[in-house]
Symmetry: C2
Subunit: 581 residues, 2 copies
């Protein structure tokens, strides 16, 4: 059976409401990943039975039709009762091994772009004319003051900004608040040498791609400035210097009561929806070592470390061995400090150049062959999480081989390596726990050649007045101790801004249920609570890296738009909450 | 003969240095337009003899080769000794009726974009690391202070900014200065209801197109904000609040001595090249009417008119009947003023909607069929100016017919119409004199229905204490007189900033030599002095509408880059200077 035959048979079965016939078209161990097109949810069905159950429950509402192949490799378009979608089909021996469906737009609420863009001017003469600027200024002045936003986005980093742009394009009144003075400040405030670790093709924001001279690895200040310009260009409603103090769900009114402080003044907002886009990390995790209060040097968490300036000739101990630990250790070394890293557990290290080869979809070659970031995002999303490890394991194996000399030198220096519990590398590890790795851009070489000293396989026993005492009894004299010990989870934000009860009700955010370190089972097959309805009405989580913020902001925005317009949005296949925050 | 055969024969003749054979491939009345590829000049040859002369003089240097058709409709690529070009051939009965050649890049000095973009970070660890921001800040702080710019661009509107971006991409140290506090202020300061009169597809800046929801007619403040963001994103060296006081050419040093005032402090710059990008208009032209000093109301030039606010119920007289006059009259009417327009000579009026139909190359349909702004620019440029009227006359004739009712009503109100001396409409009129027309977006309707009163075919005799006295004896009571009487030419800037002698030496800027109103002959076939070498070493003029600023900035930037890199740039076919400034 060809893809075309399959789609015809599938459509015909769906039209007839013949779930059995539709289901026969799938292998038993097949996958159907749906991004809100059939389920108003982000969910992957991993068996024929699960697919059948979903179809039985949803076919009547969804009324899918008009499946048409639209290009290469099984990609197709389709329609539902309320929208238009894209999908992808992979066949094996004439039956579906994976199906992917994604809602791309809502009928009647399409983005005004290209031929439907606004005119910008009203031709003809009229008294009391309101210009674009009048309207924009009035809008900005009213929103949050005399007119409530439908959506409040807490956090104005790339995630909140990308979502804000999506919402603006489909006419959802949204307000973004951020505690810092200017959009982009979260980047500007990081240590001086920081550049994005992902290459440019992976990092575009929606609608306005970087110009084609943009450097491969965007320097942090340049990224900050881009975000600021983007916010202005897209006419986002963005309140800077504004902190969220407390959010309470009003069950009766079905809306939030959010107390914020804007430029130091309190103000209450009443949005229908609250999006936490506070970064996928929660609060800094600072271990409490005995004796920390005795230590006479400086000690701070990596989030408070602004750079190596001023530490030349000083003894610096960095506790931790993931990305921040490496970046900070290298930066301190570059500024002439004497640096020791304490590695307590194995780290996944991949060389940046090697990793870039695994991202063929996001590359100059992809661009040349017509695959822009949006297309690459869809292709990436079409692969079920369950299949990701098997797809990337061969790449990891090859990288270990290609970079064998590098890994040997690292190991010889005592560095403890891992490639993930199932040898699947950074991608799955990021989805599972969001940390645990370092993308090598220089620090590993410093460790290998001894420029950065390493104490591995040890714990910190306690701090003394003048340094750190390790579990094996060694003493490290120190003027500075940096806790590169990571962050809590996004749930902490929900607990702090709303309540511990709501955070527990919603459960763990991020992770797949892979039953690997920091990602307890049972298997969920999707990132928990991300970009989709949670157990708390009106509460949403948004974030991830730039590619995720770009891609999934589309589906979150469509879900919010549907609710704004009063479309029925019955959520199918909600994951049970197994883990408290 | 097919296009492919023609190019093969042409290349072979050129390779053999056989000018006679090459020339036989052209009709006698054929045209060859060259944008710096063969001539280091912008010039159109309008006869077989002229083509033969050029080839005799230039073949040895240029060494053109590798002519290859690269798409539809006669488009081809080619190489010269120093660069790569694109061109277009139109055949009639097997011989060339028009040939177009344009240099697109210099070998060894290509823009760093796509696969050759910068890395943005230097991987590895190094002490004394200089980050992107360090380098950018150092660059910005040094340029014009401890390090001289190769190019000084006077005027930071869209022209200067587009050129600045081109120069930045090919590594020409350039400084843009502008008298206003922020990039984009020239737009922000205009009257409130102003929007671009050209549609969005025509208005993109280089490298960073507007996102596809951008309105068709960009409101002026939005345009100002875009220019400001663009300046920052492209990392242009832009000094705002800086005026050029005096520029002097130092013949011995072959450089300029330019006194500027930056934030009120004098400073001297020594660029090798000076680009006047001060707008294609010179200084406001304010007629001196007898009695102007007696008039007790307010009188100002259109350039000083900020809008209709405050003029409700007042009697306002607008002298002039071109774009500004119409826009200002309509804006005053919208604010409740009693408005009279004084039309002294016929005006070319085209309805905006009608005009948009004549711009098929710059439209949503064009974008859909793969014609972006850069492609459309090349297609437009491939038509010699001499052929433009005959191409556009049919459109003008059709528009007159389609809009006959509109024109009849305007005429019935006494409005004096023209469609150009040869009925060729706005395009040619803009190239010839840069003014004389109005694109109807509402004011004509107000005139037709009498909301804006009209006195036409009269002159202003004098001003009285309380109004304007016309040549036919009529008296118009007035609280406000707006002189929408246009601007002088760009030459005025050269005269004021450099000297009247240099302005005269360079001669008239803009115009084709069409021997129509304000464009005296002899025929030149190109815009005088625009984007190409002038009679004054190191002096260049840049400007025009957004499309011209975008397109011709490429060739001006390449000419400057060639000079920076010391490539030989012998200029062929310099136009004689027939007209003093």
């Amino acid at each position: 059976m060809t893809e075309s035959d399959w789609l015809t048979a599938f459509e015909s079965a769906l039209e007839d409401g013949d779930v059995a016939a539709a289901t026969t078209l799938f292998h038993d161990g097949s996958y159907w990943r749906d991004l809100i097109a059939f389920t108003w949810n982000i969910v992957t069905f991993e068996s024929r039975t699960a697919i059948a159950d979903m179809l039985k429950a949803r076919l009547g509402d969804v009324r899918p039709r008009a499946f048409r192949l639209d290009g290469t490799e099984g990609w197709f378009t389709f329609e539902t009762a309320v929208g238009r979608g894209r999908g992808q089909l992979r066949l094996k021996d004439g039956k579906a091994s994976t199906l992917f469906t994604a809602l791309m737009e809502l009928k009647g609420f399409e983005e005004k772009a290209g031929p439907t863009r606004e005119l910008g001017v009203v031709h003809g003469a009229m008294r009391g004319r309101e210009t674009w600027t009048d309207r924009r200024n009035a809008d900005a002045e009213e929103l949050g003051i005399t007119r409530q936003p439908f959506v409040l986005v807490v956090g104005g980093g790339q995630g909140g900004i990308a979502l804000g742009a999506r919402l603006k394009r489909i006419g959802v009144p949204a307000l973004i608040i951020d505690r810092l003075p200017r959009p982009g400040d979260a980047w500007r405030r990081r240590y001086k040498s920081l550049c994005l670790h992902d290459p440019v093709w992976y990092d575009h924001l929606p609608y306005l791609p970087f110009p084609d001279h943009w450097p491969v690895y965007t320097p942090k200040d340049k990224m900050g400035d881009w975000l600021e310009a983007y916010t202005k260009i897209m006419e986002l409603d963005y309140w800077s210097s504004t902190t969220c103090q407390k959010a309470t769900w009003d069950e009766a009114k079905q809306e939030w009561r959010v107390v914020v402080e804007r430029d130091g003044k309190p103000l209450t907002l009443h949005p229908k929806h609250l999006v936490l886009a506070t970064g996928m990390s929660g609060f800094p995790t600072v271990p409490r070592f005995p004796g920390a209060d005795l230590f006479k040097g400086r000690q701070h968490h990596s989030s408070q470390h602004t750079g190596g300036e001023g530490w030349a000739g000083k003894r610096c101990v960095v506790i931790g061995a993931n990305n921040s630990a490496h970046d900070i250790a290298a930066d301190l070394w570059e500024h002439g400090a004497d640096v020791t890293m304490i590695q307590r557990s194995p780290t996944l290290v991949m060389r940046s150049e090697t990793l870039a080869h695994s991202r063929a979809l996001y590359s100059e070659e992809a661009v040349k062959s017509g695959i822009d970031a949006d297309t690459a995002d869809l292709i990436s999303a079409s692969l079920p999480y369950a299949l990701l490890p098997s797809v990337v394991q061969p790449f990891v194996a090859k990288s270990r081989q290609d970079d064998a000399a590098f890994y040997e030198r690292l190991a010889a220096a005592g560095f403890m390596l891992t490639f993930g519990e199932d040898e699947s590398g950074i991608g799955p590890m990021y989805a599972r726990r969001g940390s645990g790795y370092y993308i090598e851009v220089g620090a590993s070489e410093l460790i290998a050649n001894g420029d950065i000293k390493l104490c591995s396989g040890v714990e910190v026993a306690r701090l003394a007045e003048d340094g750190v005492i390790l579990s094996d009894g060694r003493e490290l004299k120190a003027d500075l101790v940096v806790y590169a010990t990571g962050y809590g989870s996004m749930n902490q934000w929900a607990a702090a801004l709303i309540s511990p009860e709501v955070a527990d009700k919603v459960g763990k955010v991020w992770g797949l249920g892979s039953d690997t370190a920091k990602d307890p089972g049972p298997w969920e097959g999707e990132l928990r609570n991300m970009w989709k309805p949670t157990a708390q009405d009106g509460l949403w989580f948004h974030g991830g890296n730039l590619a995720q913020s770009r891609h999934y902001s589309r589906y979150l925005a469509l879900q919010l738009k549907a609710r704004l317009e009063g479309l029925p949005t019955p959520v199918y296949g909600r994951a049970a909450v197994h883990h408290r925050a």
